[in-house]
């Protein structure tokens, strides 16, 4: 089985140098990178191969979660690669809370390409040194995401909405 890979591409209407700055200056990252609807802060940011980017976020329920990313490649202004995962408060790598089979680490690759007057970002996520079970878990999430359910997601959404309104 080939490694399952998640890819997302987006065009941004800003020159590449500015987009690169938004990804590599902690004070700018703090303004967009945190999880939606909750507080996030950057605890460490060392932009060089082997350097760590550690963050703390708070869930809506008020629980603290920590992330640790380790840079592998820093090639301004075109490429950023890091190893992505959860951590404990001390910065030690831990598994995803509540899902032991979610891959321990994901290799994140971000490509910055000039695209007219703007910038095209292509980001990919793939499990790193994952076990067969972890890869299967990730592949299963991807397959479910890519509409492997046929057209029934809408019905499922209605069903779930009905249940939660009881």
């Amino acid at each position: 089985m080939t490694t399952p890979r998640f890819t997302i591409t987006r065009h941004f209407a800003a020159p590449r140098a500015r987009v690169w700055a938004a990804w590599t200056q902690p004070e700018q990252l703090a303004r967009w990178f945190g999880p939606k609807g909750s507080e996030g802060s950057i605890l460490a940011f060392d932009l060089r191969p082997g350097g760590e980017w550690r963050g703390r976020m708070e869930t809506p329920e008020g629980a603290a979660m920590f992330s640790k990313f380790v840079f592998r490649e820093v090639s301004p202004p075109q490429r950023l690669v890091w190893v992505h995962g959860f951590a404990d408060e001390g910065g030690n790598r831990i598994r995803a809370p509540f899902a032991p089979l979610f891959p321990l680490e994901l290799l994140t690759t971000v490509d910055f390409a000039e695209d007219g007057a703007g910038t095209r970002i292509t980001l990919s996520w793939e499990p790193l040194d994952a076990t067969a079970e972890e890869e299967a878990f990730f592949a299963s999430m991807m397959a479910s995401m890519e509409g492997g359910w046929g057209g029934s997601f809408d019905q499922l959404d209605e069903l779930l909405a009905d249940q939660s309104s009881i």
């Binding site: 998640f6 997302i8 987006r10 941004f12 209407a13 800003a14 500015r18 987009v19 938004a22 700018q28 303004r31 967009w32 990178f33 999880p35 939606k36 509540f98 899902a99 032991p100 089979l101 979610f102 970002i121 980001l123 079970e133 299967a136 878990f137 592949a139 299963s140 999430m141 397959a143 479910s144 995401m145 492997g148 359910w149 046929g150 057209g151 029934s152 019905q155 499922l156 069903l159 779930l160 249940q163 939660s164």
Partner: protein, 109 residues
């Protein structure tokens, strides 16, 4: 240690099992009814149903003799939340990055 969520994703890894869930999202169905459109044997369908039941994604009605299977939509909701979390992890962040870059744009010189 395997969690219930792990079992759910293992169950979801198979395209036939996803198709069975999609079918059950439209209403309960018996083994015979499920076997027909997939063109596989009833024992094969039963094996898939067993995996889905162990993951807590479906249940069998006791009352009727044919024991129609029903989707446990609330259980699927947890797996769905994880899938949505993965799908929106970057798109949400990209939306906010887009807004930030727009702010910095400033008036044209």
């Amino acid at each position: 240690m395997e969690s219930q969520l792990d079992r759910q994703f293992a169950a979801l890894a198979d395209p036939i099992r996803r198709a069975i869930l999609a079918r059950l999202a439209q209403g309960a169905a018996t083994v015979g009814e499920l076997a027909r459109p997939f063109g596989i044997s009833q024992p094969a369908i039963s094996r898939h149903l067993k995996v889905l039941e162990a993951a807590g994604l479906i249940e069998a009605a006791r009352a009727a003799q044919a024991r129609p299977r029903r989707l446990k939509a609330e259980a699927l909701g947890e797996a769905r939340a994880w899938i949505d979390g993965l799908a929106t992890y970057w798109s949400d962040r990209f939306d906010r990055l887009d807004a930030l870059l727009g702010e910095q744009e400033g008036p044209p010189a």
